[in-house]
Chain length 390, copies 2
């Protein structure tokens, strides 16, 4: 296979060889950090391409280590390598794979992620990875989706209510790519983690971007408060933020506390983290690099907690408390979470991927209240009154 | 204690004696069927009153058998005996008590309903009865609430969207009284039942009714389909409807199928029953009597199913399926149910009473699908394609 493909603005000649290589250009400060190991099991249309002409510098892209083949065709990926849509797709594919592999390495039962690659009739698709009923993980889900189509008018109205200025009278083409994950570990001393990073683009009728923004966050939901864990988690996120803007962490920490509220109970879902939306400054490039840093901070923020507590001893009472708290998690996700509601109300949504965030088991006891002074009461206190951790 | 209280339109003399008696008037075709047994443990302000003067006919009212004292003061109850607000309050107090007693009689562990009487700061209150962790009942809740205050503008907008013509620019006094119940039995062969009957009044600034309506319904959520059970349940509800209007059952059966949809899954919550709202014809009196018939049909529609199956043998697989279906129940209640959302979004709402509808335990498995031809698949089929049962 030999042919002309387009990279950036100029045609270059591509040779099928032992890897997919790109011309590194100046705007692409960080291209790809992974390397193709083998293309045997992938089955992509174009699994390995090397740019021979015009190759000042080439960067390999490892598609093999992804949990599934990209949603966008390799031809399009190669031809639009510098487009933010493609860069975001490749980022979320990499983050998904890195997180899944990191979790699998901790799972002692031999259970592995089930991988479902799905297509969306209206445009695009996704890859859902779920590990269920393991020894270390009761349920862990890591999804990516790369979708496009026309925004339904209620979605446009919702965006305008958030300060956008989009026309509400005509069909609005959009593109969205995101990675989203929730991990519910078995051991009540290991917190649940959630993260989600996404890029959104609204286009004109010719597909040119009319508006774009990034959103996302990472937050922690412990069942028992371990202050050292909370400090490590927040410090790691703060580090990722500080590399880009010294004001980010404190703003996005507060945003997280404000967003993850189980309002009817007057509680936060957990000890927070960071949360942001509608980020379109200082530039598309810089916003992307910030989101990339956040997404790369997930593993170092969480894995130490998981490793430290996954074998902690616990009993029936701790398990029952964990199940009750999981009930609160369900309440937040089904009643308040914008993403869940937006997803479920979108016709043709893959509800199994949206609802993978729900725990395997949850419990609701009428009028449950932890005993004063108990570890359960200590957690509840911090859920009612969020603290600063760094 | 001796004093003047008002019944209907004229003052009568009340004597504290061994019961609370009312002058029966013609419009009150069915007054009270219960009788006071003892007032010892009740602690009402006025627990026993007999009307001595003007007593063409007297009807006893049994306040002692209620799960708690009425929300409205006995003085007001006596003074406004013919007011629909009072009649509805007394009806739901009776229905709550009758249903709780009927369930307790089936519970073999000795567990009894916990009774919480609560006040609402903004006006009114309620009685929540919950039996949890029994042998026969995993969780059963039976609530009444009698509340009044000012409707928040979003609630008025929601009502106008349903065809009301209420002014949206000023505070609108309202009154609402209802009974609401969900029973999650332990045995997977006993269906979950839900019912709710309510009266709503919107008032002008002087408290005069500007608009009123009744709503409610009873519906069944089996874990395994038993066609005979479904027929008995629907026939009993149809009987209650037919006594008032031969068109009611088919209309309200369809309304129920339409309302209790877990839309993202393309499933109904269960095998339905009846559901209606905004009933204000043919007259307030007749609408009340219809609602009364429906509420009285709950016990005969459900108790035979409970008695027949509460000791059926079952194993791990049936329990797991029941937990999965309970997850679907949670999805409906938290995502779609108007009453739950309206309740939780009302400032000062007693969320424990609203969320008593949630099961003690629920489960979410990623991509679960029942085996073709299995009893679980048979149920799923009827949830996707509702049937006629009578």
């Amino acid at each position: 296979m030999l042919g002309n493909v387009f990279i950036g603005n100029g045609p270059v000649r591509a040779i099928v060889a032992s890897g997919l290589w790109f011309v590194k250009n100046k705007s692409n400060q960080k291209a790809f950090t992974c390397f193709i190991a083998s293309s045997a099991a992938v089955g992509y249309g174009l699994s390995r391409i090397a740019v021979a002409d015009n190759a000042q510098a080439v960067q390999p892209i490892n598609t093999d280590k992804f949990m599934g083949s990209p949603i966008t065709s390799m031809e399009k990926i190669v031809a639009n390598r510098d487009d933010m849509k493609i860069r975001m797709e490749l980022l979320i594919l990499r983050i998904q794979a890195e997180f899944c592999r990191a979790l699998e390495a901790e799972e002692t039962s031999g259970a592995r992620f089930r991988v479902d690659r799905w297509q969306r009739k209206e445009g695009g698709g996704g890859i859902s990875c779920v590990l269920q009923d393991g020894q270390v993980f009761e349920k862990a889900g890591v999804n990516i989706s790369v979708v496009h189509g026309s925004l339904p008018p209620p979605a446009v109205a919702q965006m305008n209510a958030r300060g956008k200025h989009l026309p509400e009278d005509k069909k609005l083409p959009f593109f969205a790519a995101g990675v989203s994950s929730v991990v519910h570990p078995t051991n009540p001393y290991v917190p649940t983690i959630h993260f989600n990073y996404r890029y959104f683009e609204v286009q004109d009728q010719d597909g040119r971007p009319q508006g774009w923004w990034f959103g996302g966050g990472t937050d922690l939901t412990p069942y028992y408060l371990n202050e050292q864990d909370a400090r490590h988690f927040h410090s790691t996120l703060k580090g990722a933020c500080d590399r880009h803007d010294r004001t980010y962490y404190s703003r996005f920490k507060k945003w997280c506390d404000d967003y993850f509220q189980v309002k009817h109970r007057g509680e936060r879902r957990g000890v927070g983290g960071i949360f942001f939306d509608d980020i379109n400054t200082p530039s598309k490039e810089k916003a992307f690099l910030f989101v990339e840093s956040c997404a790369e901070a997930v593993v170092p923020s969480y894995l130490p907690l998981l490793r430290q507590h996954k074998d902690d001893g616990y009993g029936y009472a701790e398990r029952q408390w964990q199940l009750l708290r999981r009930g609160r998690y369900v309440e937040f996700n089904l009643i308040y979470d914008r993403g869940t509601k937006f997803g479920l109300f979108t016709p043709g949504a893959r509800y199994e991927s949206i609802l993978m965030s729900l725990p395997l088991t949850a419990r609701w006891e009428y009028m449950h209240a932890p005993k004063a002074g108990s570890p359960e009461a200590k957690l509840t206190e911090v859920l009612k009154n969020p603290r600063d951790w760094v």
